[in-house]
Amino acid sequence: MPDDITDAIALDRRRFLRATGASTAATLLAGCSGNNQGDTSGNDSQGTNETETTTGGGSTGDDELTIIWPGGVNNINPLGWLTIPDYDAARMMYEPLTSVDSEGQAIGHVATDWETSDNGASYTWTIQEGITWHDGEPLTAEDVAFTFRSIKEYEWPYLGSLSSVIAEPSEITVEDEYTVTTPLTQPYAPLPLVLADLGLVIPKHIWSEYDNPTEASNTEDPIGSGPFVFEEREQDQYINFSVDDEYWGESVDYESVSIEIISSTDSQVLTMKDGSADMLRLQPGQYVNEIESANNLEVIEGGSTYVTYIGINTNRSPLSDRALREAMAYAVDRGTVADLVNAGYATPGFSPIPPGLEFYHNPDTNSYAYDQEQARTILSENGYEQQGGSRVTPDGEPLELVLSIQNTGNWPRIAEVLSRQLGEVGISVEVNSMESNAHTQKVSVEQDYDLTLNTWRVWFDPDPFLSPVFEEEGTLNTSQYHNDEFDNLMRQQRRATDPEERQGYLYDAQDILTEELPWVVLYYPQLLHGMRSSAWENSNPIPRYGMQSPYGLEPGTGPMVQLDPTE
């Protein structure tokens, strides 16, 4: 140490400037290298392709399928699930009564066939023989009847509308060991597709022992009938299943499934790239290019049931004026937004029903190709005069709207682009960004908003979506929209026994919605999965679930079941 430290400590100007300069440079360097996300570019080190590193849960040998989920599971109650991961976990073990083919049409699964009677107000199901529960007991019509009765008798978070359609439990009749009749409160054509989503069959011999099945979290030793048997689970880390050798359907060519829960998207992609995982659902636009460029991975696209839209509060002036909404529909450049935000992994569209529901989506409904001139003309012709840089409403108020969005993900970027596009035709839009729950509270619960942005993932059947959202009595009608003709068409399509007739009603219903525009639909984000194609082949996705489903395509099989290890 210097002999006289006091001298050394005394600040010398030159030393001070040198030190400050060096620190500032270092800090700037550190501070500016902010968000590293884009830098994990697609130059994969070739050597890591076939690495079978045992990171995370379980081995990645070809006898195990490893799937990445972003969230954990707390409740594997097949009827009482509360979140999507809970639901996906239940679907691994419990089988739905019906399923869908690659076009989204209803096919059999636990039920081989069904007949309607009483003008569609009663269904008789023929149950597949030879299905056994994981504990060895056979699955019979008694289990199916018990499932229907349980749905009706208890309050389940997401089965309210299904429950209201089922008649009194006492009227559900088991005709014989493999036949059951379920009368309904009214004719309900959507039933088979609704059951493909929600109708997971539960074992009577186990669930009849519960005092209150709604309280069962079912995380200890759940017994289902599906191809995968629950083995173990570590909260928020992983869930492991083994394959049921006695499965009645197509045999599975691997031995186990491990679900790894990784919440960070960066880590999800890295885990796929280094070969430690086999399947991951991708958010459109994020990392899709990276997965595509990796040698050991490929991107699989399934029929999308996502729809991204501008929600409009039609009960508020001036938004109650249809002409204004029409002008907005012309003013937005859907293609640009889709490209900018989703890197092109989204298809512009107009109907609220996504094209993944192939049979019901109306491809010829009213469309609004990007045309700013047209938008301006409509506004001018309907009393929205241009005054200086902006417009006023016919009442003389300045035309200023507020777009309420969540502050997560891509919403701020989409809002920014839309706000600019609408501003160019004279509709001034201010973006109000808020936290997710606050947004739900404001928009869905209080309905205190002008415009909002959101994406919905629609069920297999359009009715459980269109009905609560656009019908006057609908519980999710945040647009406060109502149209008697639409309500009428909805009632008719629910009762239609002939599929073509039903399609006709739904096509007309879509025409009304695209005419009146309670929503200005923007685009349909694609449903994408990353698959480790170097280890797995035969990826055949279904709509809505993509690769993430043990059921679909044909009775007794499904995208996950059909995967073959390459060897």
Binding site: Y158, E215, S264, V445, W459
Partner: protein
């Protein structure tokens, strides 16, 4: 320094203040989640979720009862240790979540703080002793660097380099499998998974302690008694660590006390990047999901730990430093 007449009176005053702080925290802890817009059911609102289902959930969660009743229930639960069931992770009991995650976070944070203190204090002393020399400059500049960079950036960098490019460490998680043949095996697995997170947090804390120690020492080193110690012929190490560091210690102790208390809160960003299911991640998600029971329970524990450790630190002062709290 303090104006009380005895250490005992000093401690009594501190106890009174801490209890008041604790009471205030209890009240705020109850109020804040309920003031935020939305409630625990808003995150479930979506296709298929009926209004009746929402009402039923609200009732199950006890949110239909009047506020004063909820508050009384909250207080009783706190003092009987029954923290109820999580709303967001329904129906997992809150204690189960905490018991699972707290050890992981304490291990991560504890290891980080320990390493930082053990390395940081000598490093800061070393830098102060060599003030102005190259050793000092290198130490301070690198500390500044590690303190300035965003921790999540460093975390992502480490994951990418050591988890993917040179795959030595796991990319995510706290343990690799559920079943460990022995506690040692569990401990080894946990350690293996926490290396990268610990390195990330340590870099940040280390820089802090280095600076703190260095700054504190720079005040002490010019003092007369240091010169006297030197002239007595003591070795450099004896002067530095025997005579200079002890009086320079209180600021470090304050920081340490405060930090130990906050260990339970974990580091949200780091836990998120490493998908490390710890307390930080739990608290963050609970706030987002308006999970009142989890928010209340975790914030309560955090408050207890912070207040407790700061109180302990204050007691330690009175023991170590005769100047504080009066004589006798």
């Amino acid at each position: 320094m303090a104006s009380t007449s005895s250490k005992k009176a000093y401690i009594a005053t501190r106890v009174r203040n801490y209890l008041a702080a604790f009471a205030a925290i209890l009240a705020v802890n109850f109020a804040i989640p309920r003031v935020m817009p939305g409630d625990p059911t808003t995150r479930f609102v979506g296709p298929g979720f009926t209004a009746e289902a929402r009402q039923q959930l609200l009732q199950e969660f006890g949110l239909n009862r009047p506020l004063w009743e909820q508050f009384l229930l909250y207080l009783t639960n706190i003092f009987t240790g029954d923290f109820g069931v999580s709303f967001a992770r329904y129906p997992t009991p809150v204690m189960e979540l905490i018991v699972e995650r707290l050890p992981r976070t304490l291990y991560l944070m504890g290891a980080s703080v320990t390493i930082s203190v053990v390395i940081g204090i000598p490093l800061g002393a070393f830098a102060a002793w060599n003030f102005g020399e190259r050793e000092d400059l290198i130490t301070t500049q690198s500390s500044l660097f590690f303190r300035s960079i965003p921790t999540f950036w460093l975390a992502i960098l480490l994951v990418f380099v050591f988890g993917y490019l040179i795959p030595i460490f796991p990319i995510s998680g706290a343990t690799g499998s559920a079943n460990h043949p022995s506690f040692i095996a569990y401990f080894v697995d946990l350690t293996y998974h926490t290396v990268l997170p610990v390195v990330t947090m340590s870099a940040y804390f280390l820089a802090g302690y280095t600076f703190l120690m260095r700054g504190s020492l720079l005040d002490i080193l010019p003092e007369n008694y240091i010169k006297i110690a030197e002239s007595k012929g003591l070795s450099e190490r004896q002067v530095l660590f025997g005579h200079a560091v002890p009086p320079a210690f209180p600021p470090v102790l304050t920081q340490l006390g405060f930090q130990i208390g906050r260990l339970a809160g974990g580091a949200v960003l780091v836990e998120t990047v490493f998908s490390y299911p710890g307390m930080g991640q739990l608290m963050f998600e609970a706030v987002l999901a308006r999970d009142y029971p989890v928010i209340q329970a975790t914030f309560f524990f955090l408050a207890i730990m912070v207040l407790g450790s700061m109180f302990l630190a204050e007691i330690l002062y009175t023991i170590i430093d005769p100047r504080i709290g009066g004589s006798e």
